[in-house]
């Protein structure tokens, strides 16, 4: 096994990050040209790409673990180069993306079984993941920005996929938000580059040696960057696109919320704070506290609005608004424990939220349930799906042994360590209570109330409660969310990985 892996790492060489990006990109392009009717070919391609990517990521982890350095450079213009490299933080995000992409692909194949334009959908779907992986592996801000914009482009067609008036409107709104954000980010990056030179991500930051007269400019740049990234991370008041884009098909929502878009924003903020500014320098500039306050406000605001949504997906969307800001809150609190909490939530929120969206998609696709008020008694009809949903929801509230508990625990510890418990803890408490207030009634309906007639039952219960390809993805991700929390202290757990990253971020 080891020899095989060694041979593989040698064969793929330093360019491995590039292959990881291209593995889905190239397949995406091919899928565009697959005829609509060739279901089997498309499915094979999709799964092949997803599995290959996952394997490549596995080889990457193996290589990095054994001290191999992966760096791909490509000069696109004088003084401007694309750099892909694999450090601990990018590995975390890459692994998450690759893993969830595989699951989501399976789910999407089941979900879109008879709908039109599947080649278009899966093409963009693959491009979207390439963009995500690309920005995860980006080794400098220039590369990050390029993939960030590319991600916007690749997801727009997915949001608009249904083609209804509403979908197109939502897609337009999405584009307006994210593109404006992207542009501001671009401006900020160019500005920063004109001050600080090449913006390679370095653990611990690169800006702390700049002279004092640049500091006010650095603060403005930070603001611009946070606005630019905050759009995707759905920081209030930049979150307007997110609930609207719920018109997209469920796999897209899952992908947008768990892996690709909001995570790209949150990941970007983590990168900017830790690997560009350096968290200690950012704290010195005094930009972390405002960021933390915005994140805290977002957490409470998102949860509060979620309470009032009857549409299941919208409720989940507002929940995302709230949950993603945990990552940002963790980033904004100076101190290793909070960093651990923030970074680990990047993964935890991903697997929990994707579970919830898969389950929501299953309800819609199997029984035609779109609203919370239609969910009475669904637990009996779809026990596994509802169990997965339950686990995800409990995780969101922060109940052990789900993954969300671990995140909140470390955020709380971090707040204590940084001496900001006084305002962070109320936020955590309020958010947990609100989460309970909007998730527990759903669980109550699903498990305890007698069933009403289903709005529109597409798939009859046979051996399983729904189509197998719809059923297993949420079950798998829910198990992952459970394991990530239950075995949080095990080697190679997300928590341990986050601790490793954190240890390197503090000089």
């Amino acid at each position: 096994m080891n020899e095989l892996l060694n041979v593989l790492t040698d064969a793929l060489g330093e360019n491995l990050p590039l292959w990881i990006v291209l593995s889905s990109f190239s397949v995406g392009l091919v899928i565009f040209f697959v005829q609509e009717g060739s279901h089997r070919l498309r499915t094979t391609l999709n799964l092949l790409a997803a599995v290959v990517k996952l394997l490549l990521v596995g080889v990457l982890i193996w290589g990095v673990y054994h001290g191999q350095v992966y760096e791909v450079r490509w000069v696109i213009a004088p003084n401007l180069e694309l750099l892909l490299h694999a450090d601990a933080l990018s590995m975390l995000f890459v692994t998450l993306s690759a893993l969830l992409w595989l699951v989501t692909t399976v789910y999407a194949i089941g979900y879109l079984e008879h709908s039109p334009h599947r080649s278009r959908f899966f093409g963009f779907f693959s491009l979207c993941v390439s963009a995500t992986v690309g920005l995860a592996l980006a080794g400098n801000l220039v590369t990050f920005v390029m993939f960030y914009e590319f991600l916007t482009l690749a997801t727009y067609p997915l949001v608009a996929h249904k083609g209804s008036h509403e979908a197109r409107k939502a897609a337009r709104l999405y584009l307006a938000y994210t593109f404006t954000g992207g542009l501001l980010l671009l401006v900020a990056v160019v500005w920063l580059k004109s001050i600080a030179g090449p913006l390679t991500f370095v653990q611990g930051g690169i800006l702390d040696s700049l002279p004092a007269e640049t500091h006010s400019a650095l603060r403005w740049i930070f603001l611009l960057m946070i606005v630019g990234l905050g759009v995707k991370a759905a920081l209030v008041p930049l979150h307007g696109w997110l609930p609207k884009s719920m018109v997209a098909p469920a796999p897209v929502s899952a992908l947008l919320h768990a892996v690709a878009v909001v995570k790209a924003g949150a990941f970007g903020i983590v990168r900017v704070v830790y690997d560009v500014y350096g968290v200690e320098f950012a704290a010195f500039l005094g930009v972390l506290v405002p960021l933390g306050v915005v994140a805290a406000f977002t957490i409470v605001y998102g949860s509060t609005l979620a309470l009032f949504q009857d549409s299941l997906k919208k409720r989940l969307a507002y929940s995302t608004v709230s949950q993603v800001s945990y990552i940002i809150l963790g980033t904004a609190i100076l101190g290793p424990l909070a960093t651990v909490g923030g970074i680990v939530h990047l993964v935890h929120q991903g697997i929990m939220k994707i579970t919830l969206f898969f389950a929501a998609g299953n309800y819609a696709e199997t029984l035609g349930i779109h609203r919370v008020s239609q969910m009475n008694g669904v637990g009996k009809r779809m026990p596994l799906t509802t169990l997965a949903f339950t686990l995800g929801a409990l995780g969101m509230i922060g109940i052990p042994p789900m993954a969300g508990f671990i995140s909140k625990w470390y955020l709380g510890l971090g707040a204590l360590e940084a001496g900001v418990l006084l305002w962070v803890m109320p936020v955590l408490i309020a958010s947990s209570l609100l989460n309970a207030a909007y998730f527990l009634p759903i669980l109550y309906r699903a498990w305890f109330l007698p069933a009403d007639p289903w709005p529109d039952e597409h798939i009859k219960a046979q051996r399983w409660e729904t189509h197998g390809m719809l059923l297993w993805p949420p079950v798998i991700t829910a198990s992952l969310a459970l394991l990530a929390g239950l075995l949080a202290s095990a080697p190679f757990s997300p928590l341990e990985w986050a601790q490793l990253i954190t240890a390197r971020e503090y000089k």
Partner: protein
């Protein structure tokens, strides 16, 4: 490498919380119903078999987990497991069949697992896990029947439970962060910020129904099935007491400050429960208020224990009181369930006896517990003896009200019940209850019973007298002589009737 580690693990420690989880997956009704009592068996065996100090560390789980049995934990586990086992036995035939049967079993198992886990937990992560699992899963037991009342009760229970869990979470984070460890063994001797202590106390205070935080308790007990009430009242609420003992460093300045409050709050709670319980009519709600009142005494004791870390007698008193209350209250609730099904007089008699045990008449566990408490009162808290004395009186009154409510219940349901209400109790119901009653009456004799002191019986007698006064029928003018005459007439009349009846029988 893995093999020796596996062999060294005391499997009972793992089995006790995990077996119920496995049982939760059994969907088959016929097997499933018998798993209810079986599930608590490993915990009970563990409490008997495993020596104090046994522990197992699972460093990969959660934040690093350690389960084990210490001196407090052993008795606590015994108390807990026994109530669970007998309530499980009671439930084998005591729960309505049908669609919700499996759901009941799932939640029963989850709650049991959580409860056992929190007793064995030696770290904050697994305590919180057990606490949360127990608290949330118990919702499924309380809201078992789909009626408006249970739904409301369940909702209120859940809101308070979640609130308590979140506060405890905050407190746990604060505590763990302050002492730099999640293990309870590290807590002793450390100083905690006051806010941490307050958060922990508030979080657990909901579970132990501190006055003001007690809203959920009578409502939930009123709505839950008898077995569930027995569990809730007998063992689950005690998790709060255990939590306080585990989380707070006894003797530390901030703890002492809060502990003094606990003493006074406990005292208030002890009377608060009685005052409002006396105005209730439903037997189970009265018992629930009695639980609140008894929890007040337990809180008071906990407050004392937290101030004096080294006082073994006080700790023992607390344990005895926990055991006493858990078992008696369990037996009372199960008995009420049976009584409601059968309405039989002799059951009422047993319930009266159990009520007397709770009150603490001599030669019962109540007397044992109360006496050990009094003996252990620290020097500067001696004036509490008066409070306890009054509390005995109050409890007697409340139990009088309880017996009256049973009698009233019987009168109301006498005519209707035989036709369409509850089916007659199953064998396991009787068995579970009977064992518990036997145990309640018998276990104090394992200890040296306190000497008989008139001073302790006075409040009981006083209370009984007051109850008797309250229960006396209208007294006609001319009082005693008229009553005697009346009774004489009634007696003679009765004898004559009896004679007539039997003469006919004899002649035939």
């Amino acid at each position: 490498m893995l093999q020796p580690v596996l062999l060294e693990l005391p499997f009972l420690l793992l089995l006790a919380p995990l077996l119920p989880l496995c049982f939760a997956l059994v969907a088959n009704d016929r097997i499933g119903q018998w798993l209810l009592p079986v599930a608590a068996l490993p915990a009970l065996v563990a409490a008997f078999v495993l020596p104090v100090g046994t522990s197992v560390a699972l460093p990969w789980v959660l934040l690093g987990v350690q389960w084990g049995i210490d001196a407090t934990g052993q008795l606590w586990l015994l108390v807990t497991a026994l109530v669970w086992l007998l309530a499980g036995l009671y439930s084998v035939s005591g729960t309505p069949a049908g669609a919700s049967w499996w759901r009941f079993r799932v939640f029963f198992m989850l709650t049991l697992s959580g409860n056992v886990l929190l007793v064995m937990a030696q770290d904050m992560g697994s305590f919180f896990l057990g606490f949360a699992l127990m608290g949330l899963a118990a919702y499924g037991l309380i809201a078992q029947q789909a009626s408006v009342t249970t739904r409301r009760a369940g909702r209120i229970y859940l809101i308070w439970t979640v609130l308590g869990e979140v506060l405890l979470f905050a407190g746990a984070v604060f505590t763990a962060g302050s002492i730099g460890s999640v293990y309870f063994s590290e807590v002793a001797g450390k100083e905690l910020p006051l806010a941490a202590v307050v958060l922990v106390t508030l979080g657990l205070g909901i579970k132990v129904a501190l006055p003001g935080l007690h809203v959920w308790l009578p409502i939930a007990h009123g709505a839950a099935p008898p077995a569930v009430s027995a569990l809730l009242s007998g063992v689950m609420v005690k998790a709060g007491i255990l939590g306080l003992v585990r989380f707070l460093p006894a003797g530390a300045a901030s703890t002492v400050w809060v502990a003094e409050w606990l003493v006074w709050l406990g005292l208030v709670g002890a009377f608060y429960g009685v005052v409002f319980g006396l105005r209730q009519t439903a037997p189970k709600v009265i018992l629930a208020y009695s639980t609140m009142s008894q929890l007040g005494v337990l809180t008071l004791l906990t407050g004392l224990v937290l101030q004096a870390p080294a006082d073994a007698a006080l700790a023992m008193a607390l344990l005895l009181y926990v055991a006493h209350h858990a078992w008696v209250k369990g037996a009372l609730f199960l008995g009420v369930g049976l009584f409601k099904q059968t309405l039989s007089w002799w059951l009422l008699g047993v319930l009266v006896a159990l009520a007397l045990v709770l009150v603490g008449v001599p030669l019962t566990s109540g007397a044992l517990a109360k006496d050990s408490v009094k003996a252990a009162l620290p020097a500067d808290w001696q004036h509490l003896a008066l409070g306890l004395w009054l509390s005995s009186l109050a409890t007697t009154l409340l139990m009088g009200r309880f017996v009256w409510s049973l009698w009233r219940y019987r009168r109301q349901h006498e005519g209707a019940s035989s036709h369409h209400t509850s089916p007659s109790p199953g064998l396991t119901q009787w068995l579970g209850w009977a064992i518990l009653v036997e145990w309640v009456l018998w276990w104090p004799f394992l200890f040296v019973l306190p000497a008989f002191k008139w001073w302790d019986v006075v409040p009981i007698l006083l209370g009984l007298g007051m109850v008797a006064l309250a229960l006396l029928p209208r007294i006609p003018a001319g009082d005693v002589p008229v009553l005697v005459a009346h009774a004489g007439y009634r007696g003679w009349h009765w004898v004559r009737e009896w004679w007539r009846k039997h003469r006919r029988c004899l002649s035939a």
